[in-house]
């Protein structure tokens, strides 16, 4: 088994999907969380694009959070059983990335009143549409797992999104019963539950 290390800050943030994949797969790794003050001086130069998270596999480095998560999912047979399932999982990843990019724009709005309006508008119009598509995909797949008929990293994406969506929109899956059910079932899987219980409790 190779030696794995994830370097990131002490947040769930852009590293948590990878951490959930390690947990679900039962694969040990070094979960290095660095202080903001030690970045960039100590770590930035090692990073291919000057950013975290960073994955090291037997000393070789990989950057970009989505790429890191996909590589791990594939190594641990959590990517999907065939090329179409793998593509569907990639599609769901990209969809969540679009949502996150749109939320970032709102997050960065400095005018508090304008921000509140944008948050409300996003929640009632945009977010429900985006999550509605995923609820449909899950329904059309029989409601059990979002891709195929067993756990993949796409299900872990849904679990992770419940947390990061939750930072701006508490209980984001309240109106999406199948997705809410999936989040609950996967969070209760032993290795995932163990990780969620023991991971550092951070605001995001």
């Amino acid at each position: 088994m190779p030696t794995y290390k994830i370097t990131y800050f002490n947040f769930r943030g852009r590293a948590e999907l990878a951490r959930l994949i390690f947990a679900a797969a039962g694969v040990p790794y070094e979960d290095l969380r660095i202080e903001m003050s030690r970045w960039p001086v100590e770590y930035k130069d090692q990073c291919p694009f000057g950013q975290l998270p960073l994955l090291e596999v037997d000393g070789k480095v990989l950057a970009q959070s989505k790429t890191i998560a996909r590589y791990l999912a594939r190594e641990f047979n959590l990517a999907g059983k065939d090329s179409r399932e793998q593509a569907l999982a990639d599609m769901i990843l990209d969809h969540y990335a679009d949502i996150m990019n749109e939320m970032k724009v709102i997050w960065l709005e400095s005018d508090a009143e304008k921000k509140a309006t944008l948050v409300e508008k996003f929640k009632t119009e945009t977010l429900s549409k985006h999550l509605g598509y995923l609820e449909t995909i899950l329904r059309q797949n029989g409601g059990g797992f979002i891709v195929g008929d067993s756990l993949t990293w796409a299900d872990l994406m849904v679990v992770d999104s419940n947390d990061w969506l939750g930072v701006m929109f508490p209980n984001p899956y309240d109106n999406f019963p199948l997705l809410a059910g999936l989040v609950k079932r996967v969070r209760e899987m032993p290795q995932v539950a163990e990780w969620i219980a023991k991971r550092p409790d951070t605001p995001r």
């Binding site: 291919p48 694009f49 990989l62 950057a63 970009q64 594939r74 599609m91 990209d94 995909i137």
Partner: protein, 207 residues
């Protein structure tokens, strides 16, 4: 061979990487370009699209959406994704980086306030882009000196991705002036026979 249909608008935009992959691989596909001014989109097509957006791919009647997911699927089907799982991850990494660059471009491209747009564009071309390209130049150099490919020892969709980014960034050598290895790579990829043939034959659109 499956039947492929790629659905998008009549522009390079978010479909061009997929088109480049089809052409580089020599795989035929139906290059559907919808005219939204004539209502062809949404038309009957929006209901077929998994997230109600273009581009999307239809393979033997099954839909797949999201540019990068589609492009990666095609690259893997046509052996343009990278020879090992590590090479495939390295290619993915470059594609994510190009996507970060594209996201920056789309931000000011869609800005309606002309003054703000000009300011954002200037900051991008003078600060943000050179920083990104600097990282790419170093990574290319790490791959056997940088006179070959971004990943491994053969063309992958990562190479097609940077060749596509060239057009998105204005289609001139200017952004790459101080980055000779990357400039060389882009030239080599765009000169690849099947790629060059497509670049010459494709509809000429502003973006």
């Amino acid at each position: 061979m499956p039947n492929y249909q790629l659905v998008y608008y009549n522009r390079r935009g978010r479909a061009e990487l997929c088109r480049l992959i089809f052409h580089a691989a020599g795989v035929p596909f139906e290059d559907i370009r919808l005219d939204y001014t004539k209502g062809e989109w949404p038309g009957e097509w929006k209901a077929k699209a998994p997230f109600g957006q273009v581009p999307f791919l239809i393979v033997d009647g099954k839909m797949l959406a999201q540019t990068k997911a589609v492009a990666r699927y095609l690259a893997r089907e046509f052996n343009l994704a990278g020879k090992t799982s590590w090479d495939q991850a390295r290619a993915d990494m470059f594609i994510d980086e190009f996507d970060d660059i594209s996201t920056e471009v789309y931000k000011f491209a869609s800005e309606k306030d002309e003054a703000k747009k000009a300011e954002m564009s200037e900051k991008f071309y003078n600060e943000t882009l050179p920083r990104h390209i600097g990282y790419l130049e170093n990574l290319l150099k790490e791959n056997n000196g940088g006179n070959g490919y971004l990943v491994g020892d053969s063309l992958t969709w990562a190479g097609l991705g940077i060749a596509n980014a060239y057009d998105l960034l204005g289609g001139t050598d200017a952004p790459f002036e101080n980055f000779p290895l990357l400039a060389g790579l882009i030239k080599r990829v765009r000169a690849h026979p099947k790629v060059a043939e497509w670049i010459n034959a494709r509809p000429q659109t502003p973006f």
